[in-house]
């Protein structure tokens, strides 16, 4: 089965600062996202996961590498026509629903801002209709359009943020920690909503989060990122069952599980980068099992392979 590649990231590098103060936030990152899937990017704070999302959104400039969307390069200088198309088709959902909504604007304006910018000449009646539809799609009432963001709870605000993305009828959504700021019970609602939208409209997600247990529920494939480098990438269940890179295993062991007996016996596994001996045998990006990639040198790749054999 050949799947259609929607987004292809090749050798992406993002560097902040200039000259002596340069900092490489993203180092040679490669991944493909297939149409209709949810691709998860997991990492700790400062790992560069948000920077990758922002590079795809073209909020930060990439310093090297290509980002191909539907086969066309979208980073760097692009034609105005492609720019407009990408702006419409790729949308973003942010972590903090209060900070990402204009507190001085009414919901009506917030949700339709994209339409106003990209669909010149849209009639007032048509615009109102689309806003109402978008609000209903995310489980809000149409009359909320005349209210301000502060009048809503955290979960409702996040729904407004989602409505703002959906009104553009996007093909691809970058969701950056969309549920981290929410309560447990609200999280479930938002996750369900995102999944529901995906089913109805074949939206592809790049889901950025630090929480592997949430990722496991929502993502089809997961890439684990550490200090700007992807260290492991595989189908979700394969990654959980056959974690290879010691950093992935450390992340998995650190997730607290709601099972007291198991938690109390748990041995914490702490990742120490010094265990890699990369002095001669340099690490490369290798496919150790079908569809399961890991950053390792030749010796380690052999060890990882043997770990789950027999």
């Amino acid at each position: 089965m050949k799947r259609e590649v929607l987004l292809d990231v090749k050798g992406l590098n993002v560097t902040f600062g200039e000259h002596r103060k340069q900092y490489n936030a993203v180092k040679n990152v490669n991944f493909k996202i297939y149409k209709g899937e949810t691709f998860g990017l997991v990492g700790e704070s400062g790992s560069g996961k948000t920077t990758i999302g922002r590079a795809i959104m073209r909020i930060v400039k990439s310093s090297d590498g290509d980002i191909l969307y539907k086969g066309e390069k979208i980073n760097g200088t692009i034609s105005q026509e492609l720019d407009q198309r990408v702006m419409r088709e790729i949308q973003m959902i942010f972590q903090d629903p209060l900070a990402s909504l204009n507190e001085r604007a009414k919901v009506d304006y917030i949700v339709s801002e994209g339409l106003l910018n990209l669909e010149h000449g849209i009639g007032e009646r048509e615009r109102k209709k689309q806003v109402e539809q978008a609000l209903m799609d995310v489980g809000l009432l149409p009359e909320f359009a005349s209210r301000f963001p502060h009048e809503f709870s955290g979960g409702q605000r996040q729904r407004i943020g989602i409505a703002r993305a959906l009104i553009m009828k996007p093909d691809f959504i970058v969701a950056d920690e969309p549920i981290s700021a929410l309560d447990v019970s609200i999280r479930a609602q938002i996750l369900n909503l995102l999944r529901d939208m995906q089913k109805k409209r074949q939206i592809t997600y790049l889901f950025i989060a630090h929480d592997l247990s949430v990722m496991r529920f929502i993502a089809d494939r997961i890439a684990v990122i550490r200090k700007g480098e992807i260290v492991e990438m595989a189908e979700t269940e394969d990654l959980v069952a056959h974690a290879m890179h010691p950093y992935t295993r450390a992340l998995l062991s650190a997730i607290p599980m709601p099972d007291p007996r198991r938690e109390k016996e748990k041995k914490l596994f702490i990742y120490d980068p010094a265990i890699h001996d990369y002095s001669e045998d340099k690490p490369t990006w290798q496919e150790v099992r079908p569809g399961h990639f890991v950053l390792a040198n030749q010796r380690e790749a052999g060890e990882y392979k043997r770990m789950y054999e027999g």
């Binding site: 700790e44 704070s45 709870s153 955290g154 309560d183 447990v184 019970s185 609200i186 999280r187 479930a188 609602q189 996750l191 369900n192 999944r195 529901d196 630090h210 929480d211 592997l212 247990s213 949430v214 496991r216 529920f217 929502i218 979700t236 959980v240 450390a250 992340l251 062991s253 650190a254 997730i255 607290p256 599980m257 709601p258 099972d259 007291p260 007996r261 198991r262 938690e263 109390k264 748990k266 914490l268 702490i270 990742y271």
Partner: protein, 350 residues
């Protein structure tokens, strides 16, 4: 096993005056805290868990007041009982705060002074609470830094908060709390702002310090995984009331209250990929109006008629486990447990 009680809350009511209306934040809550245990309080935001513990230290906002009930602290000097609800003077509170009951907040950056060195901030607590001279205080500060797992304490002593990472800052905040020599440590979402790997380390540190300093710990969190990792006992809070309390094993393997079931079911670990995750319908009740019956009734699909009429009392499940739900009444119909409970019992989580 008879353990010494260190804090006893009886029928506590806390209200807030807000724009001429009264908000009933804590409604008849009773709770005991024993020497050396870790008691976790879980609940959604707005359930009252922070307000509840703030009242132990006289830290309620100006418009908040204790409307009834008592909080008795048994750990005072010469084992004297202190009724915390009777304290009105700021001077008397200062004898309790830090010295008897200390608190760790969620965000370590806001609890530290950015203009003072780490060392001087910890030493301030040592000088105030341990009655020692300057030289001895420096020595003890270094020891506290070491105790909370900060390497090269001499060098770190002279540094400022911005030179520390989030996890390290939280360690400093813990060191300040420990330096006050408290008997009770209240941790309000101590790891919510931290990464999972750092979170695991801070939780391990708290467990270690509890034994070393013989602390009783109250842990406020909404993360049930953290609760399972840390707690000896768990109190589940909903709409200003503890609806279920029991040992950690009892709450996770044999929960009785529908709200506890709902909380467990909405965990992503409970979800089956490809099908919807359970989410609690509706919203928590308004605390401005008197709640009739069981506060969770209108969100509970299995609610009984009586749930809407009469507030359930505690039903004792075991000597350590009780829950406020009519489902435990002899006359109540049998209901099926949600699948997540069976899954946790069998250890079927990944």
């Amino acid at each position: 096993m008879e353990r010494e009680m260190i804090l006893e809350v009886v029928d506590l009511d806390i209200c807030f005056q807000l724009r001429g209306k009264v908000l009933h934040a804590i409604r008849d809550v009773s709770m005991e805290l024993y020497q050396g245990e870790i008691l976790a309080i879980v609940g959604e935001s707005g359930s009252g868990k922070s307000v509840f513990t703030k009242s132990f230290m006289g830290l309620l906002d100006k418009n908040g007041y204790v409307a009834g009930g008592s909080i008795v602290y048994f750990g005072g000097e010469e084992e004297r009982e202190v009724n915390l609800t009777a304290i009105s003077r700021e001077r008397d509170w200062r004898r309790i705060r830090g010295h008897e009951i200390a608190m760790i907040m969620q965000d370590p950056m806001t609890s530290l002074n950015p203009l003072k060195t780490i060392g001087s901030q910890i030493m301030e607590a040592v000088l105030l609470h341990q009655k020692v001279g300057r030289m001895e205080a420096i020595k003890r500060t270094l020891k506290h830094l070491e105790d909370v797992g900060i390497q090269e304490p001499e060098k770190r002593f002279e540094q400022y908060p911005h030179e520390f990472s989030g996890g390290m800052r939280q360690r400093v905040v813990i060191a300040i709390a420990i330096a006050c020599n408290p008997k009770i440590l209240v941790c309000d979402e101590p790891t919510t702002a931290l990464d999972v790997t750092i979170q695991a380390q801070i939780l391990d540190l708290l467990k270690e310090l509890r034994h070393k300093y013989n602390l009783s710990v109250i842990l406020i969190t909404h993360d049930l995984g953290v609760v399972a990792n840390m707690a000896d006992r768990v109190a589940v809070m909903y709409a200003g009331d503890i609806v279920e309390i029991g040992t950690s094993e009892e709450i996770f393997y044999d929960p009785k209250h529908p709200y506890t079931w709902a909380l467990l079911s909405s965990l992503p670990q409970a979800g089956q990929k490809g099908s919807d995750l359970f989410s609690i319908p509706g919203t928590p009740p308004s605390l401005y109006v008197d709640i009739k019956g069981d506060a969770f009734a209108n969100r509970n699909p299995q609610a009984l008629k009586i749930d809407f009429v009469k507030r359930p009392p505690y039903f004792q499940v075991s000597p350590t486990h009780k829950a406020k739900t009519w489902l435990l009444d002899k006359r109540a119909p049998k209901v099926t447990l949600p699948p997540i409970v069976e899954k946790i019992r069998k250890g079927g989580l990944f």
